[in-house]
Symmetry: C2
Subunit: 249 residues, 2 copies
DNA sequence: CGGTAAGTTGACTCCCGTCAACGGTTGTGG
DNA sequence: CCACAACCGTTGACGGGAGTCAACTTACCG
């Protein structure tokens, strides 16, 4: 696959994200960039990137598009347990276990990099800071996962959807995907329902309610939040779990 | 603190658990045992071991008793996001981030070991297999966390409680805390409610229903499951996420 | 013996799921 | 160019699962 300038632009948020977790050396950054560009993949919308039970032998890094981790019950009920946004990596180190316990799918057309285990291991062996940065990302992911449990277990529908929107905004911001008070919301209401543990019908009604009260504007796949503090208040949102700041190395 | 034979017996499940994730050398096992015995702590029931926002500078390993990870909303709603059973470790490597996003509390009187960061780092630096074993535990924890999201988001009350019981049994079994078809259930219905995202009243009614249909026997803090397969069926339980088997090293 | 925590039950309410129908948009093929 | 299907969003009607409030019992403990 030929490299283009736009590919390079896609890689930049990945580096920036990891660099925010652990300051990376110039060499680490460039070797990471090379590895990412080598494994470039693209996928259409609604495709499984990896399925529950598959053996894990590579890691993936999202460059553009939205993906999700999800699990399904025997009878078809689906729960999205997390989103994967541009700049985020999936399952670094997951190959330490034998198989994967959940599936990952694209929710939009997406570009990502698939880095084989051996390649990844040599990458992190050469630079312990890089290894730590990936581990930090994993740890932040557990924290997000915990907050999702709180969201699903203890918030009512309105709070739940509000909280999800707050989190999405805060996760998209550092990768430059927020324009002023708006961002693109490229997924369906069914996806949002599966992420919040609601039925599609009730999710739709909750969105209506949020529109009516002026909490959000959502039209033509664009989400606008005029008063983010108000949204955070109704969500009982507390940002500390996202660890959006750097720890002293 | 003087060492006793019973302390040694408590450490054994920890070693066994980690050894199941990665085969440990004799030296690794004994150095781990020493580190654990050095940091021995005990706590009464209902005590916070670490609170949300605290800086993290040590890891903890549970030797006896039940603990939980939980988060609370401003208005007091509590969600237990995971349990910590004997043999399990909390937050190995969590010090890579700055502060902890949730609290950990004892649900029963407990004995655990508190190993300082420096001690832990020298331990794993000396043996990479040990380091990997701890990472595997962390990865299994994420998988459990994901399954909890599914449980809270997509199962109804009866399925939810049934699933929790299945998981508890499968996690207690490898550390020898299942006697035949029974185990001790040392926590209150409020704890179970907070773990399943239900109100205490509704959890109580769900337990009644499970008792009436013969799915469980729960009396005097003893849980008996006569037909585990039946329980798993009503829970839509799929065990793969617990990774209870060893991967080829 | 009083006080507190845990478990249980009834009554009532309402949030949310289910079922169903309808409109708008997109894309596709005849 | 139009018919048709498929997908998505929306709305109404209805029912039931789960929350809330409150009272009562039992056990335990100082």
């Amino acid at each position: 696959m030929a490299l283009s300038m736009s590919d390079r632009n896609l890689v930049e948020p990945v580096i920036r994200r990891l660099n925010a977790l652990r300051r990376l050396s110039v060499e680490a950054r460039s070797s990471l960039e090379s590895a990412i560009l080598e494994g470039l993949q693209s996928a259409g919308s609604g495709e499984d990137v990896i399925s529950e039970g598959d053996p894990v032998d590579s890691i993936r890094i999202v460059l553009s598009g939205w993906l999700c981790r999800y699990k399904t019950l025997e009878d078809g009920r689906r729960q999205i347990v997390n989103f994967l946004f541009p700049g985020e990596s999936c399952d670094a180190y997951a190959f330490l276990l034998s198989t994967i316990d959940h599936s990952i799918a694209t929710l939009t057309p997406a570009v990502y990099s698939d880095i084989k285990r051996a390649r990844f291991e040599s990458l992190i062996a050469a630079d312990s800071t890089l290894a730590e940065a990936f581990w930090c990302e994993t740890l932040v992911n557990i924290a997000i996962q915990r907050e999702w449990a709180v969201n699903l277990g203890r918030r009512v529908a309105l709070e739940r959807v509000a909280h999800l929107f707050c989190e999405i905004v805060e996760r998209l911001r550092p990768v430059g995907m927020i324009n002023g008070k708006s961002c693109i919301m490229p997924i369906t209401q069914m996806d949002l329902a599966d992420a919040t543990g609601l039925s599609v019908v009730h999710l739709n009604r909750t969105l209506q309610e949020m529109r009516a009260s002026g909490l959000i504007v959502l039209r033509d796949r664009v989400l606008t939040i005029n008063d983010l503090d108000a949204l955070k208040n109704t969500a009982l949102y507390s940002p500390n779990y996202l660890q959006l700041y750097r720890r002293g190395s």
